[in-house]
């Protein structure tokens, strides 16, 4: 049972082959991490799966349906959403409003009830705010609920973005470096959060540089280097794979050259 399947995905920017022929799959409740050195094509891969970039070839299937190159808002409606390494937050809204925006698709509005602020419309708004508040609790941001999002620290914004993504009600969640810029305690909290989300059945695709975190929570790891998949498997298997070690540390022949330089 696979919820997200990526087959032969590739993209070129001009003459540069940024990602080439990458395939893997994610099951519901599974945490799959994509790792690799800087510039390996991890974020580019995310951008293709989430409809931000148009892949040059290959396909992405969500629950068996071909969703290659669909716009992000359509993917959101089908249950795939993401967070960004460099954040995409509504800076001028409050923290709570950011999460409320995440409920955009599940709200069933009536224009007239809204315009005249009828009890039904007010009840709906109150319900959504309560639900949004619950997500803020999950990421420990309730005391900043009424603050303007632009004033929050980087680590807090990362968690806010996760809360908003959860509000969309995803079946597949792509997290691009969720722990970047967070301290050790915050990282552990995000750890726990991701594990809980996976337990609730959400398929999680993760890009993360914190190797301890990746090894601890991943069920499956995909390793990219220079845009190619060079290995995949369980955390133990991957951490012992010579190709992976070479990609991260360089091969032995290279080492003297570096030492001399």
């Amino acid at each position: 049972m696979t919820i997200l399947e990526v087959k032969g995905l590739g993209i070129s920017f001009g003459g540069l082959r940024a990602v080439n022929d990458v395939s893997f799959s994610v099951k519901p409740g599974e945490i799959v991490s994509v790792i690799g050195p800087n510039g390996a094509g991890k974020t580019t891969l995310f951008n293709m799966i989430s409809g931000v970039y148009l892949p040059s070839d290959g396909e992405a299937k969500l629950d068996g349906e071909d969703v290659t190159a669909q716009a992000p808002h359509l993917l959101a409606a089908k249950g795939l959403t993401r967070t960004f390494q460099n954040l995409q937050i509504f800076q001028e809204m409050t923290v709570l409003e950011n999460v409320v925006a995440g409920f955009h698709l599940s709200e069933r509005p009536s224009i007239w009830a809204d315009l005249f602020s009828l009890p039904s419309a007010r009840r709906r708004s109150a319900e959504v705010r309560d639900k949004a508040f619950a997500f803020l609790e999950k990421v420990r941001l309730t005391n900043a609920a009424e603050e303007e999002a632009g004033n929050l620290s980087y680590g807090a914004l990362k968690r806010l973005e996760i809360a908003r993504a959860l509000a969309v009600g995803p079946r597949v969640l792509l997290l691009d470096e969720p722990a970047a810029g967070c301290n050790a305690v915050e990282t552990e909290e995000i750890d726990d959060l991701i594990a809980t989300l996976a337990q609730s059945g959400i398929a999680i695709l993760l890009v993360e540089h914190d190797m301890k975190m990746v090894m601890r929570i991943s069920n499956h790891i995909v390793v990219l280097d220079h845009g190619e998949k060079i290995a995949e498997g369980t955390p133990e298997a991957v951490s012992k794979n010579p190709d992976v070690i070479a990609a991260y540390l360089g091969t032995e022949e290279e080492e003297p050259a570096h030492a001399l330089g």
Partner: protein, 290 residues
């Protein structure tokens, strides 16, 4: 005193028109960061199409409705065929595209309609109303009330409805809006339709007072732009206040200094805003996070 009241009435009337043009600027600017210089042409089209539909025998309300719907369609077409294909281009390029579009619309109107001045009958007759020692045309009331009604309608739309909030979310961060499932393409289409419809309505309301011809749009776009700058670009409240203030400045300048300086007021306002407070009356100070 009576003269002052008279100037205020005429200032508010023309100011209400500027406010409507500025509101049109605001909507498109909010959704896309583009200042749409074809906004004045929407006003012209509203007036022109109503005049020609009315002359062709349609009753006035129906003629006005036709003009508003047709202009909204032209607004959508402008987005579809000129702005959307250039998505990703720098904002300045998009603004220049709107200037091109305004020249195209003006030229086409000259050919399709004509180069004459046209007028419409006033909606509720021409008997002046005496109020506080000065007189006011019923049509002026239509214009002023129209501007306030549109402002309140927009305010309710943006603060209360999900669709309105989706427009604001798109303005705030397009990618984030897409991530939560907002169809940002539709939001853009809606913004252009709404903005064009409001422009057209302004044209319909003001034509009985100021007359309309194919080239009234340029001046209105400039005045509306000055009003939007004065109020703070992107803020609907600013658009309304900026428009009314600009209208009052103009009328008072014409009354107490010389009507020859009237046209210069808008430019003086633009300069003053840029020198003294570039964010305008209600605009937010932009601080870039690094």
């Amino acid at each position: 005193m009576d003269a002052l009241m008279q100037f205020i009435y005429s200032g508010l009337t023309v100011g209400a028109v500027y406010a409507l043009v500025a509101l049109g600027f605001t909507i498109i600017y909010n959704a896309s960061d583009v200042v749409n210089f074809a906004q004045g042409e929407f006003v012209m089209l509203g007036g022109m199409i109503t005049v020609f539909a009315f002359d062709a025998g349609l009753p006035l309300p129906l003629a006005a409705l036709t003009a508003i719907v047709a202009t909204a369609a032209i607004g959508v077409a402008l987005n579809k065929f000129a702005i959307e294909p250039a998505r990703g281009a720098p904002v300045v390029s998009l603004i220049i595209i709107t200037i091109g579009a305004s020249i195209l619309i003006r030229g086409a109107s000259q050919v399709i309609f004509d180069k004459q001045l046209h007028r419409l009958p006033a909606f509720s007759g021409d008997d002046p109303i005496h109020l506080l020692g000065a007189t006011l045309l019923p049509q002026s009331l239509w214009v002023i009330c129209g501007a306030f009604a549109i402002f309140i309608g927009l305010w309710l739309f943006f603060t209360r409805t999900l669709l309105g909030k989706a427009v604001l979310a798109t303005a705030n961060n397009r990618l984030a809006a897409q991530l939560v499932g907002i169809n940002t393409g539709f939001v853009m289409t809606l913004s252009f339709a709404l903005s064009a419809a409001i422009g057209a309505l302004a044209g319909v309301l003001v034509t009985p007072i100021t007359l309309v011809s194919y080239d009234v749009g340029v001046g209105l776009a400039l005045k509306g732009f000055a009003a939007a700058m004065l109020g703070g670009m992107g803020n609907p409240k600013g658009a309304l206040v900026g428009g009314l203030l600009l209208g009052l400045f103009e009328a008072l300048t014409a009354g107490y200094i010389s009507s020859q300086y009237k046209e210069a007021v808008a430019f003086v306002v633009i300069l003053a805003v840029l020198f003294v407070m570039p964010q305008g009356l209600f605009g937010e100070k932009k601080t870039e996070r690094v």
